[in-house]
């Protein structure tokens, strides 16, 4: 579904990702782990097309067989890639409805968008007052991550990348998020970037990848995550 070829990226001249070749499949949940500075977030950002990173000319990215290497971030998103941010910014004066109405204009009418938001918010136990406020303004860590997930569902992407969706989230919120994701994963590719296997207890990954110094150094099933938790990354 999502294929990275020779994926090399740098920021301010420093190479962060080094020739990654990997194919993320449909109907699969991936856990992407690795020590701080190993390039996890950079991988997420570069897949989404963040302009601050320089991706090597010889690198390429394919979504469902289509080369999207030259596409701008908004086009990649439209093509079906969704990135949930590690620390979502707050947007003054912009509600989640206004954002999604604009993002879905031409695809879904505003009323449908509104109904979907309300429905998903209920399932995710997002307080309705948060929906009428500026996006992420005054929201707790868990609420912010729920709002990211809510956006994902309305946008209906094919590939979902969650950058540390479990950080700054309390146990209850984490359970809600993971359970929701578990029901939602069908026909999609889900990539969970995480430090801990806390979330992996509630949503079992099909594959665990360990990133180190910009390369995927180990692949395995969920037991690899447990191993990492027990022994740290050093043994890898």
């Amino acid at each position: 579904m999502l294929k990275l070829k020779n994926w090399t990226a740098s920021v301010s001249g420093k190479t962060i990702l080094n020739k990654i070749d990997f194919k993320f499949e449909k109907n699969q949940v991936y856990a992407l782990m690795g020590p701080n500075g190993s390039g996890k977030s950079t991988l997420a950002y570069t897949i989404a097309g963040h302009p601050a990173y320089r991706v090597d000319k010889k690198s390429s990215i394919y979504l469902n067989g289509k080369n999207i290497s030259a596409d701008s971030p908004d086009k990649r998103a439209k093509a079906g890639i969704f990135l949930s941010f590690q620390s979502p910014l707050s947007l003054n004066g912009v509600t989640v409805f206004q954002l999604l109405r604009l993002a879905m204009s031409g695809k879904k009418d505003p009323l449908t968008v509104k109904q979907e938001i309300d429905g998903i918010a209920k399932k995710l136990r997002i307080k309705s007052e948060l929906l009428s406020r500026s996006l992420n303004d005054g929201a707790s860590g868990g609420e912010k991550k729920k709002l990211e997930l809510l956006q994902a569902v309305v946008l209906d992407p094919k590939v979902l990348i969650f950058d540390e969706i479990d950080t700054g989230v309390d146990v209850d919120a984490l359970k809600t998020i993971a359970k929701f994701l578990d029901q939602y994963k069908k026909n999609r590719t889900i990539i969970l970037i995480t430090h801990y296997n806390r979330i992996l207890k509630y949503i079992k990954p099909n594959k665990v990848l360990v990133l180190s110094e910009g390369r995927i150094v180990k692949e395995g099933n969920y037991k690899l995550a447990e191993e990492v938790e027990r022994n740290g990354y050093e043994m890898i």
């Binding site: 701008s72 908004d74 998103a77 003054n92 004066g93 912009v94 954002l99 993002a103 946008l155």
Partner: protein
Amino acid sequence: MDKNSKLNFDYKYGFSMPEANVYKSKKGIDESVVKKISAIKKEPGWMTDFRLKAFKEFKRKPMPDWGADLSKINFDDIYYYIKPTEEQKSSWEDLPEEIKTTYDKIGVPEAEKKFLAGVSAQYESEVVYESVQKELTRQGVIFCDMDTGLRRYPEIVKKYFGTIISFYDNKFASLNSAVWSGGSFVYVPAGIKVGLPLQAYFRINAQNFGQFERTLIIAEEGSFVHYIEGCTAPIYTTSSLHAAVVEIVVAKNARVRYTTVQNWSKNVYNLVTKRARVFDRGVMEWVDCNLGSAVTMKYPSCYLVGEGARGEVLSIAYASRDQHQDAGAKMIHLAPNTSSRIISKSISGQGGRTSYRGLVQVNPTAKQSSVYVTCDALILDEDSRSDTYPTMRIKNQEVDVQHEATVEKLGEEKLFYLASRGIKKSDAEGLLVNGFIEPVTKEIPLEYSIELNRLINLEMAGSVG
């Protein structure tokens, strides 16, 4: 349109006023022009005197040099009075393409378009207008143009005219006082709450968008009125100077809200003096949105003279290429327990410039007063500029003062966040800008704020002007 054609704006796109004009003063201004204006209008002697004194003051006063660049204004090249004809024959086809396109894009109905563009002075809204007038008359509310006001209600006009803003105040107030024409006269009797906003553009056949409008609003004790002037569609005018004066009296326990959405064409110097005097527990709210013009200098003010009086200015300024919006507010606290709130939002893009200029003065007598000022500037690109000139003169210790000023750029991270949701850059910028001004737009009537949002999106997409 390139820069050169803008300089030739008058020549290239100007309406040729039909020869059938009833009267058109000569170009430039002198005492005879002032006298003639007063004579044509058959004004009482006191008004003629007022005009002449004001004219003297206008001549005496130097050009203000503390704000925007006004050096290109040529007072000798302006017609100070044109008596409107019954019908204006200039044609829709003569209008600049950009103005027509903008009307289409924001969806202004055909008849209204022509009215706004000055092509037709007859906006076909007579039915609505008449029913509104009927209701107002029943309540004893007066709402007419200033010339009519002076003719029909000379005693009220004489009592207040020029008392809130003296012609000594500033050069452009002097000029307006000398040559004023049109504008609105509103009188709301004690205890009357006017339910429907009074919209300047309902006054058909009046010189709504005159160069030297003069507006006077009197809200008697316990009354309420909301007055709206301007509209989001660009007002096309061949005259390059708009120097209006707006005077408002807010009596005890009365409340007045004055909303302006200004979108003059980009050849206009918009230099407006607006002031309200607010008595005990009265509330004055200025909501001021400035998008158009070449230069705007405007600082709506409240003189809080009665105990417990309250003043508010909520403003938005948007400056694009070749524009300077020098806007702000003035709050003068002269009595105890008075409070004021200023919220200013400015946006500059495509090389435009915005300035916030504000004065808050709390006199020794104004104990237990509170002051809240927040001015936020958003700069869209490297070529654009924003300055803040806040002045606070707090002359007693028992005052609660809060002041906040922020300057932000349209951050790459926020744009990327929106891009990652599939929103293209120009839309994302529009969304963020509209979010930025939301604290003000939520205060203006819905149809205006929707049009305002759309217009800002158009401006940002570079498809206007």
